[in-house]
């Protein structure tokens, strides 16, 4: 399944790397429910969020500057940062 990472820039403890925001990738696997670090980091009662591993091509992330376009990066992204693409 293809997903796009939200291109949001809120303040706080965000575990979505900036270089992946706005990028489209493929879900590699679903890992399960984990505490939302954006609340956890501030001692707020954290909600459980689905965590998924998303695979992005270097071409999608770096465009023409990609070292090898078909190499990939995989990262864990919380589902509330993703939308269908």
């Amino acid at each position: 399944m293809k997903v796009r990472v939200h291109n949001h820039w809120p303040p706080g403890h965000i575990r979505t790397p900036s270089y992946l925001r706005g990028k489209i990738g493929e879900i590699e696997r679903e890992i399960g429910l984990f505490n939302n670090p954006e609340q956890n980091a501030y001692r707020l009662l954290p909600q459980k969020r689905h965590l998924v591993r998303v695979r992005f091509t270097m071409e999608e992330i770096w465009g023409d500057a990609a070292e090898t376009p078909d190499d990939v990066i995989e990262a864990e992204i919380y589902a509330h940062w993703l939308e269908p693409a």
Binding site: R15, T16, P17, Y19, I31, F34, P37, L51, R53, R55, I61, W62, E67, T68, D70, D71, V72, I73, E74, A75, E76, I77, Y78
Partner: protein
């Protein structure tokens, strides 16, 4: 002769420069750690011995633990399947105390080479492999490995053919990663104990390959 004159003040009797004392002031976080630790001890929540034992337990963890896990996976296909399905449970089943760590093992194959990084900080499977190497925490490694992994690997002395895909795993959240390197062809007749000596720390991060023990 360096030892004949006496204007060399900075040298020890054995002719080496004295190392500067570490007289820097404590930074904010060091001060905070000491204050919280002393309060916890003063209020009876923990003891100094418990803190020290925990430090010793972490220092006792080393890449040799991961090497045993990899060697076991090379020797036992059933264990390998279990490791790829749930690396945390498989490591615990071998007897390693990895605490609450969520671990994923990723296999290198003929067509895929995997590398681990934490671009946001320094996440590392410490509870199995011990403390990460200093370069793993450096801004240079963390930023460059996601931009030009092949160039970084070549600086580690590893050349990956263009027909092998590179997958960089960014430990952005709750999981930690260990790479299961491909078993070198010339080790197929070795025992599990012998195999463990071939598994280097860097091969479990993905910036190295298994090597014949020296």
């Amino acid at each position: 002769m360096p030892h004949d004159n006496h204007d060399h003040g900075a040298l020890s009797p054995s002719g080496h420069p004295y190392r500067k004392d570490d007289d820097n002031e404590l930074n904010y976080w060091q001060m905070m750690e000491i204050a919280v630790r002393e309060l916890l001890i003063e209020k009876g929540h923990i003891t100094a011995a418990q803190v020290h034992n925990q430090i010793n337990a972490m220092d006792a963890r080393s890449p040799a633990n991961g090497a045993k896990v990899v060697a076991h996976a090379w020797s036992d296909p059933e264990f390998k399947s279990a490791l790829l399905a749930d690396a945390g449970q498989a490591s615990r089943d071998m007897g390693f105390d990895i605490g609450p760590m969520h671990l994923i093992a990723i296999e290198n194959t003929e067509s895929v080479h995997n590398i681990v990084v934490c671009t946001l900080c320094s996440c590392y499977p410490r509870n199995l492999l011990g403390l990460p190497p200093d370069w793993y925490k450096s801004r240079a490694y963390r930023s460059r490995i996601v931009i030009e992994p092949r160039k970084v690997l070549s600086e580690f002395g590893v050349e990956i053919p263009q027909d092998v895909q590179i997958r960089v795993h960014d430990s952005t959240a709750d999981m930690r990663y260990i790479i299961l390197p491909a078993q070198p062809a010339q080790t197929m007749s070795l025992s599990e104990d012998e195999l463990a000596y071939w598994v280097t720390r860097d091969s479990m991060i993905g910036v190295g390959l298994p090597q014949a023990p020296k």
